[in-house]
């Protein structure tokens, strides 16, 4: 279980307490938080890997995947947002799907499932992001940039992320198709709390994601 976290000291204890009931091994990548995220996470029984500098969620996730790949024998790695927007029961169900059907990548879909209190602007933005992702990744996705995923060892050994910031999510989806990994989506619930709305991405960050991806595409074209 891999949880990237940046300044999540206020909520990470309860997120980790929920997780620890079902998962023994929780790795938190503290992405250079200025608050007590690392201390709280350690006290909650997680293994904490700490970035000395803030490098973005994509970078943190890559560090976590590198940790799981090189220091553990885990056959699956689940990524889970620290702010408590995901349900642990969804993660358990997705892991079961990955195991039972031997699927490399299980993605969570809030649009197959439920979103609680999702702002309309976010819904509209995600709809267009989804259209963009389908074209960019060539996968018939029903949701995109959802922080909850299950990756098999084969998947996290093959997928190489280069985007430090949020664009990594599209990059990861594209890597599924490129590496010919098996994948599926599972309906899940996303809870939009006051906290996650304040802490989460600003809608305008979509511009940065598209720019990062376009820049990368341009440079790797020739």
């Amino acid at each position: 279980m891999l949880v990237p976290a940046y300044n999540e000291g206020a909520v990470i204890a309860s997120t980790l307490a929920d997780l620890r009931r079902d998962f023994d091994h929780v790795v938190v990548v503290d992405d250079g938080s200025a608050d007590d995220t690392a201390t709280v996470a350690r006290a909650a029984g997680a293994t904490v890997v700490r970035h000395p500098l803030n490098r973005g969620q994509g970078a943190a996730l890559k560090t976590g995947l590198e940790y799981v790949r090189s220091r553990t024998a885990a056959e699956h790695c689940i990524t889970f947002d620290a702010d408590g927007q995901h349900l642990v029961s969804d993660a358990v169900a997705m892991l079961a799907t990955a195991r039972d059907q031997a699927i490399d990548v299980v993605l969570a879909s809030r649009f197959l499932g439920r979103c609680e209190d999702m702002p309309t602007s976010r819904r509209l933005l995600l709809r267009s992001a989804l259209r963009f992702s389908r074209v960019a990744t060539k996968l018939p996705l029903t949701d995109t940039h959802n922080g909850l995923r299950v990756l098999s060892r084969q998947a996290f050994e093959r997928i190489d992320l280069t985007q430090d910031r949020m664009a990594y999510a599209t990059e990861l989806e594209a890597a599924i198709a490129r590496n010919e990994l098996s994948w599926t989506e599972v309906p899940t619930t996303v809870r939009y709390t006051e906290y996650s709305r304040a802490k989460g991405q600003h809608n305008l960050n979509a511009v940065n994601i598209v720019f990062d991806l376009a820049w990368d595409r341009l440079r790797s074209a020739p």
Binding site: H25, R55, Y67, R71, A73, T162, D164
Partner: protein
Amino acid sequence: MIIKFLLIAAALGFGFLMLRRPTLANATAARRLLGALFVLAGIVAVLMPNAVTNVANLVGVRRGTDLVLYILVMLFLFVSISLYQRVHALDQHVTDLTRHLALLDDPRAGSIDLEPGEDRRDRLPT
């Protein structure tokens, strides 16, 4: 008239510059050569103000100040692009370094769910 070809060629050149991954040595050499060129051109322009106008007329620009403006715009583009590329490369280095450091001072390095002396590969499905 000639200036149009020069400006379009320069613009295309910058597009090309943006796309290819710069080898750092080349980029540095180009920057230094350009820098030296501009120092020389600056001195000449100060000593002989009419020379700028003459050169401008030569490439089909009426006023020397116009030519200076065109060159300035192109120079600005060049500087912006090469700075952006440098910052991007630095960013990647910092991230790699950060990752390396983070994994170095991991408190439970190598022990998360392995017995002492056990190789992680022993646990992998075959």
